[in-house]
Amino acid sequence: MINQLPIINMLLFLATALIIPLLSRRKFNITLIFGFIMLALVMTSSFFMLFHIADNGAIIYQFGGHDSRIGIEFKVDLMAAIISLFVVGLTTVIYIYSCGDETEGVEQKEYGRYYILLFIMLFALLGIIYTNDLFNAYVFMEIISITTCSIISIKRKKETYAASFRYVMLNEIGSLSYLFGVALIYMVTGYTNIDFVSQSIQTIWQLYSINIIIALGFLIIGIGIKAAVFPFHIWLPDAHASAPSSSSALLSSIVVKVYIIVLIKLLFKVFKLDVLNHFHVSDILVVVAATGMIMGSIFAIAQKDVKRMLGYSSISQIGYIVMGIAMFSSLGLSSALFHIVSHGLMKAALFLSVGIIIYKKKIKKKDQFEGLAYEMPITMGVFTIAALGMIGIPLTSGFISKLTLGVAALDHRQGFLIIIVVLSGLLNVIYYLPIIISSFLKSEPKIYHPFKIEKVPWPMLTSVIILGIGILTFGIFPNLIMNIMTQAAELFGWV
């Protein structure tokens, strides 16, 4: 029964997406509760799966009972189990937030459609994490790109359409160059299953080295565009500026991270280490990560709109993760995995708290935050925790991930990266601290009853509080997830 869990999780999400239109006749809360039950169900089953895989190895599930060379195969190893649990858990929290946030630009009638798209995106996210087949990953990548674009363009504002059009164009170039890379690999190896592709690549990469270089280039550029790695990040800030805050929280803390997992799968499972070292991929990735860290923060300083600023700061944080991967060591990979989880929590907390602020005060500009902490203590409290986490202050999970990244850089004898990590942390200070300072210290003259809990729908507040607690717990007790992550990183067989 355990082997069926991956496909059952995905079919549960698909079933929810199909049942929601039938529920739209009755009162709307029934759809929300029904969706929440399904999310909780899948979360428990992925918890169960994680413990099972931690004990006795990866679940391999062949579709139609065919040998894995012939048919399509799911391979859920420890890293996939951790990330799928992270994706479903964080989506449940963001789902709780979106239940309370009806009016944020999405009409009541549209609301059912928003959830259908959300659940199909979850179906595809789980699929792309589990699958062990390159072309199957392309099909799920397409479903994700359509659903994320339509989640953004569901808010009927003028600038959302222009932003999502640019997002579709760039996303499509990314997927087609990924497909071109897969076609080049298929031309040389004849397989699409990841294990068999890597076996045959190890033997023939000297013979057809031209094919491998060009396939590697197209794949990395394709995934780079979709994961908004620095040189290809143009679409992310515009998409965030105009999207509803729950979908921009989803986009930048979950979808972008899943593409980083696809990048990890490609680099370390398909092209194993000796191919990568031969083509010096590690140095290229280090350069890309370093520029991304610095440039992302510099752009963020210049922004006026809070959401666009958060978009640029996620680009610099993605640079951290790519730096962790570029170390090509189990320490580097485990710190990258930890940063994926901690950045996901922090970025979701930031976006959701900004969403509450926009919901209540209808302000978008950075400099309109005076005295907000007195009116909305909880939201600004969580915003400060998350912002301090982004800067890397101890007691938050951000500090732990910066620490482990620095240790991984030292272990990889690239000490100058620590300087870049610290420099980018300082740049974060420049654009996060003014908001915190102005909201806490500059007091609004007409505040009579400070520190009264803001009147905001309860689901929005609970989700933000959960995220705040999550950032602090992983900051104080990082070993809760750090050991499983080092265990997962060991599995890649570093030479």
Binding site: I70, E110, V139, N211
Partner: protein, 97 residues
């Protein structure tokens, strides 16, 4: 000026790709690297394993059936996505009422 720069860049890229294609195993015969034991397996066993004479439908529906499920879901999402963009709310109420 920017346009010419871009055209030159694309020409250089085209030259690099054409040069690399000449190196690639582009022989379109049975001993191409992609014509390996997986293809032979399909050609020999597809008929008696799936009963369908047309190998492409056999692979499409049976061996790689999960891809085609992904396909139908792409079609389903594209209808929902276009409806969420174009379907004006007031029009929908008339239909429901």
């Amino acid at each position: 000026m920017k346009k010419h720069l871009l055209n030159v860049l694309f020409l250089i890229l085209f030259g690099i790709l054409v040069y690399s294609i000449i190196e690639m195993p582009t022989m379109q015969t049975v001993d191409a690297p992609s014509y390996n034991e997986v293809t032979e397996y399909y050609i020999e066993n597809a008929v008696n394993e799936t009963g369908s004479v047309n190998f492409i439908s056999a692979i499409l529906a049976d061996y790689r059936g999960f891809d085609t499920l992904g396909e139908t879901i792409v079609l389903f999402t594209s209808v929902i996505a276009v409806a969420s963009v174009l379907r004006t709310v007031k029009k929908k109420e008339e239909e429901e009422a």
